[in-house]
Homo-oligomer: 394 residues x 2
């Protein structure tokens, strides 16, 4: 079964260039053929091959599905009142992340699963066709294990984040908690996960602790990624690069040495501007990273505390407006960049052979994602060639 | 035919208080009855009267439909590439508003009408149940007349904005253009409009010209409103207050005297934070206005140039994050505030007798509009008692 989508005003393919990089292609009056869940052909509509079915894009734009490489979706409870109080200038609730840990531990599997699936469906409806999902609100062996187990039922990109914060039972005994994270908790979680992550920051885990967590994870077959340099300067980026992490995430406070380390490594910088929006912090300096040659991804960081958006278009609008990325850079960061941050080459682009994950916008150009902030513009979504939304008629 | 909506986690009524102000009411486990297009009853679910039909809100929040008191929806063409170039730091396109004037004049009525209706439907789907619509991209008698005539087919809140900018044919002859705006153009437009507006700003119209436009409009039966103090300090707010305008819109650059004038008048300040987002300008100082006792509305300013959002939730998120309004203040500004800016007492609240314009959020609290920026959360919309969206089941 093949489907021809024709009359595409702008087709973003991000096809690989000869040098192995990922370029940018926008074709006027383009077409794309998908077959058996893969991209089979792209090019000018006038040269499109025949297919079993046809969809008229009526001048709309088509781009790769978004790849969200950083999200925390296994949790219970909500913190809307805490958010409102923070915005109103009231003191930050002492509860913070521990509020969510308490609620998550108290929840049954069915409740966690329903919440997770609701958020995953919300993401998909908004064009996110691949997403990563972290544990980190359980902080016991049993609660972390069920978090990664539930996550693995909805995405292959599962990240074990037992080292999110020190569990309350280990207050004052960070070393004891790290032993748990690197020992029995890892043993229980590794079978369900692809990645190991650690929040390397003052107040969470230091450089040596982060190294221990990443090394133990790697020994258990997991690949490293790091929460780095969100709240201040620190060793997170250096640890990530040293561990050959796929990505250092947040990157809000970077020294020149951090930038140099990223630029000369295979570790990319994943920026999470929704967090800065929702906590009123300064935005990361994306231009400094890009101009140094660092590959930049953007992701939602969807979580109930510091950023509860699941909207990649919103993050793109912030990237353009507040991080001065071009609309092209921002769209690549949310698609090809996210894919690279997950070590994936089958998604994030629409080259021939890619998984047929694509978004049809209710707009003629990718620029509308920033030009029309907040407006729902996802007209249809295909995931592995299957229509998720309803493609508009004409 | 009456409908009972029950199991409402948070019901925002904005009912009038005894002193004639508009208060804030959030009831847990609330219910609302609508009948014959009006609100018939609100209160605790346990005391709800019987009704012909019932909708289970399943713990969601219900609030008044948004009232968007500032929008420019009659136009042709689009300026996505100009937006992208501006964000990338390239020089602001010389075309600007005149790009849209050229495209609008060249468009047929059917094209303008289709574009207008598409945007109106988009707004309604996002919870805007009352909106104002301005002319101002025609700038000839015929093109302004058809703009207000088309607008009047979709909303009663039509604003004649012949004085948007000086028409290109009158370059160097502002007085000549003002004569046209106050003469034959007004005569042609007044039958279709309720409001007269003028862009009182350096580069548009000065104080005396604005006074002339507003006075002529009032003589023709129109009520005044003013684009004021968007791009710099100037006489706009003073002119608006002097003319007893319902609202001074933008209010980005205000002196103490401007604030005092607003505070001691019936003219409210309508803030348009989407414009500051999309032009990277500083946001208006909402707190200074609120603390001075000025009534503040927020509106989208949906237009193809400076701000092409039609999302009131996005504007609410900006109001909270970037203008430091509380979530309650922002929601009132987008509902009751917008209604007051249009001189309407039948919308913007859910007191008994109000028009049954209401939004059910896919969330338990109004705070989610800012807590989950960019996420589509409008579960259902009622306009004059009729369901526009599909209310979720359970």
């Amino acid at each position: 079964m093949s489907t021809l989508i024709t009359n595409v005003r702008e087709l973003i393919t991000h096809e690989r260039t000869g040098e192995g990089g990922i370029g940018w292609a926008a074709l006027n009056d383009a077409a794309i053929v998908i077959e058996d869940g893969r991209v089979a052909w792209t090019g000018p509509a006038s040269r499109a091959p025949a297919a079993d079915a046809a969809v008229d894009a009526a001048g709309r734009a088509v781009l790769p599905g978004f790849v969200d490489s950083h999200a925390h979706l296994v949790f219970a409870g909500e913190r809307g009142a805490e958010f409102a109080a923070r915005m109103a200038g009231l003191p930050y609730s002492a509860g913070g992340i521990r509020t969510t840990v308490v609620a998550t531990r108290a929840a049954g599997d069915a409740q966690l699963d329903a919440n997770l699936r609701r958020l995953a469906a919300e993401m998909l409806a908004q064009g996110i066709t691949t997403f990563e999902c972290k544990s980190g609100y359980g902080l016991t062996v049993a609660d972390e294990e069920r978090s990664v187990r539930l996550a693995a039922q909805v995405t292959p990109e599962v990240t074990y984040l037992g080292a999110h914060v020190v569990a309350p039972e280990f207050a004052g005994d960070v070393a004891g908690y790290v032993d748990l994270v690197c020992g029995p908790m890892l043993t229980a979680c590794a079978p369900h996960a692809r990645w190991v992550d650690v929040f390397c920051e003052d107040g969470a885990f230091g450089a040596d602790e982060a190294r221990a967590v990443l090394a133990a994870g790697r020994a258990a077959g997991l690949r490293p990624r790091v929460h780095a340099n969100q709240l201040g300067y620190g060793p997170g980026v250096a640890v990530a690069v040293e561990a050959r992490a796929a990505s250092a995430d947040h990157c809000t406070f970077l020294t020149d040495a951090d930038i140099d380390a990223l630029a000369s490594s295979g570790t990319m910088a994943t920026l999470l501007p929704g967090v800065e929006f929702s906590t009123r912090q300064p935005y990361p300096d994306a231009r400094r990273l890009l101009e140094a040659g660092v590959a930049v991804a953007i992701a939602t960081d969807c979580n109930p505390g510091s950023c509860f958006t699941s909207s990649m278009p919103f993050c793109i609008a912030l990237a353009v407006r507040d991080m001065h990325m071009t609309t092209q850079e921002a769209v690549w960061a949310a698609t090809g960049g996210g894919a690279r941050a997950l070590g994936r080459d089958d998604v994030g682009h629409l080259g021939v052979g890619a998984r047929a994950d694509l978004i049809m916008l209710d707009a003629p150009s990718h620029a509308y994602l920033a030009y029309r902030p907040g407006v729902p513009q996802i007209a249809a979504v295909w995931q592995a060639g299957l229509v998720v939304g309803h493609p508009p008629i004409g």
